[in-house]
C-alpha cells in the first residue's frame, strides 16, 4: 500500500534531531512495548510482516504524530484483536480510555508468476505495481531502472506473508540506483542500494 510509512524521498522534514550515543528507549513503557510485541512474535501470534503491515495500516494522522513505540503498541494491539487474543472492548476497559487501532487490512497477493532469476550486472526495472496490501517496495523506486549488485537468500514474500497468503520464498536483489535518476534535478548525487524482492522486478532490456 502507498501508506504514510513510505517516507523515502518525502520532502518537508527538517534536520535530524541527532545526538551521539542517542537513547534507544526514553521511558519504561517503551521497553515494555518492545518486549510485549517480541513476545507475541515468539509465541507465534503474528509474524514480522504482519507486525510491520499493522503499523502501515495506522490512520495517517495517527502514524505521523505517534512516537516510534506508540506505532509499535498500536500494531501489537491491533493484531491481538484481529487474531482473537483479546477484544477491543477489553483493551479499552483495561486502559480506562479509547485505544486507537489500525485500519482493517486489504487483501494480500502471492508471488508474481513470471519471476526471473537475475545475476550481478543485470539491468532491472521495478514493476509499476500498486497493491492494496503489504509490500516492501518503497515508492521511490517504482518504475525506476537499476543494476543488480548481488542476490540474497530466499525470504518469505512479504506481500503474502503479511496476509496469510500462500507463496514461495523468493530471493531479494540488492539493486543499485542513482539518486539523480530517482529524483531528477533534485537529489544529492549518490548511489542508493535497495533490497528488492524478485516479484517486484523485471528485466530492463
Amino acid at each position: 500500500m502507498d501508506g504514510m510509512h513510505d517516507l523515502g524521498g518525502k520532502q518537508g522534514f527538517g534536520p535530524v534531531r541527532y545526538a551521539l550515543n542517542a537513547q534507544v528507549f526514553h521511558a519504561p513503557w517503551e521497553r515494555r512495548v518492545n518486549a510485549l510485541y517480541s513476545l507475541a512474535v515468539k509465541l507465534g501470534i503474528f509474524n514480522m510482516d504482519e507486525y510491520r503491515h499493522a503499523i502501515e495500516r495506522m490512520e495517517p494522522r495517527h502514524y505521523l504524530t505517534a512516537s516510534y513505540y506508540e506505532r509499535s503498541l498500536t500494531s501489537l494491539a491491533t493484531l491481538c484483536v484481529e487474531k482473537g487474543i483479546v477484544t477491543a472492548e477489553e483493551l479499552e476497559r483495561r486502559a480506562n480510555g479509547a485505544f486507537p487501532l489500525a485500519s482493517p487490512s486489504a487483501p494480500g497477493r502471492s508471488n508474481v508468476p513470471e519471476r526471473e532469476r537475475f545475476k550481478p550486472a543485470d539491468r532491472v526495472r521495478v514493476r509499476t505495481d500498486h497493491v492494496p496490501g503489504h509490500a516492501r517496495m518503497p515508492g521511490y523506486i517504482r518504475g525506476k531502472s537499476g543494476v543488480v549488485v548481488s542476490e540474497s537468500p530466499a525470504y518469505p514474500f512479504p506481500d503474502a506473508h503479511a496476509h496469510g497468503v500462500n507463496a514461495q520464498d523468493e530471493p531479494t536483489y540488492d539493486v543499485r540506483f542513482k539518486a539523480e535518476e530517482l529524483w531528477p534535478h533534485d537529489a544529492d548525487p549518490a548511489l542508493v542500494h535497495v533490497g528488492v524482492f524478485q516479484s517486484y522486478l523485471e528485466r530492463d532490456d
Binding site: H5, D6, L7, G8, G9, K10, F13, P15, V16, R17, Y18, N21, A22, V24, F25, H26, W29, R31, R32, V33, A35, L36, S38, L39, M48, R52, I55, R61, L73, L76, A77, C80, I85, V86, E90, L91, E92, R94, A95, G97, A98, R136, P138, Y140, S152, P153, Y155, D174, A179, W183, D186, A187, D188, A190, L191, V192, H193, V194, G195, F197
Partner: protein, 198 residues
C-alpha cells in the same frame, strides 16, 4: 483521530494502553513480566554496539577474517560467537575506503542488524532521517556533523528486505599497530551506521 466526539472517551495514555496489553497477556498465562526482564537483559547487555566493534577490530587486524566477513557477514560474525535472529538471513558488511562512504537506513520502518550494532538510536527511527537520507545524503550527513569532501562517493543502503547491513569504517591512521582490544574501544555505533567516520 482529529474528530471530536461526544460519545468516545478520550484516548488512554500510552502507559495505560501498554499496561492494558500486559495485563491481558498476564491473565492468559503468557508471562509478560518474565519476558520483559529477559528482553531488558538482551537489549542492554547482549545486543550492544561492542559486538560490532569487535567485528570491526578483528577485520582491521586479521586480513583473513576480513575476507570472510566481506564474503559472508553472517557466518563470520557467528564464528566470533555473536548471534543473529533466524530471519536476518544475510549480513552484508559495507567497507568504507578513503574514497567511498557507506551509510545505512530503513525508509519503511527501522530495520537494523540490532544484535550486532545494537538497537537503532531514536534519530534513526525518526521521520526526518528516514525521509531525507536517501535523497539528500550529503546534506543530511553534513547536518549531522560529517562533512564529506567531494571526492568521497556516497552509497546509501535502504534496509527494505531481511538482509541486514553494517558499515566497516576506515581504520584511523594513528591507530595502526594498536591491539585488537584497544581498537574495539574506538568503534562507535554511529560509525557502523555510517553517519560518522572515525
Amino acid at each position: 483521530m482529529a474528530e471530536t466526539s461526544h460519545v468516545r472517551p478520550s484516548v488512554a495514555t500510552v502507559e495505560q494502553r501498554t499496561a492494558a496489553i500486559e495485563a491481558a497477556f498476564d491473565e492468559r498465562g503468557m508471562k509478560p513480566g518474565e519476558f520483559i526482564e529477559q528482553m531488558a537483559h538482551l537489549t542492554d547487555e547482549q545486543w550492544a554496539p561492542r559486538n560490532g566493534a569487535r567485528v570491526v577490530a578483528k577485520a582491521w587486524t586479521d586480513p583473513d577474517f576480513k575476507r570472510r566477513l566481506l564474503a559472508n557477514g553472517r557466518d563470520a560474525v557467528m564464528a566470533l560467537g555473536l548471534t543473529m535472529p533466524a530471519h536476518h538471513r544475510h549480513l552484508v558488511v559495507l567497507e568504507n575506503t578513503p574514497t567511498l562512504h557507506n551509510v545505512i537506513c530503513c525508509t519503511l520502518c527501522s530495520c537494523t542488524a540490532f544484535t550486532i550494532i545494537g538497537l537503532p538510536p531514536d534519530w534513526y527511527k525518526d521521520l526526518e532521517y528516514r525521509s531525507r537520507v536517501v535523497r539528500q545524503s550529503r546534506t543530511v550527513l553534513k547536518e549531522m556533523g560529517l562533512d564529506l569532501p567531494p571526492h568521497i562517493e556516497i552509497r546509501v543502503w535502504d534496509t527494505t528486505a531481511d538482509t541486514r547491513y553494517m558499515v566497516l569504517p576506515v581504520q584511523p591512521a594513528h591507530t595502526i599497530g594498536w591491539s585488537e582490544e584497544q581498537l574495539v574501544g574506538i568503534v562507535t555505533k554511529e560509525s557502523m551506521i555510517g553517519v560518522a567516520r572515525l
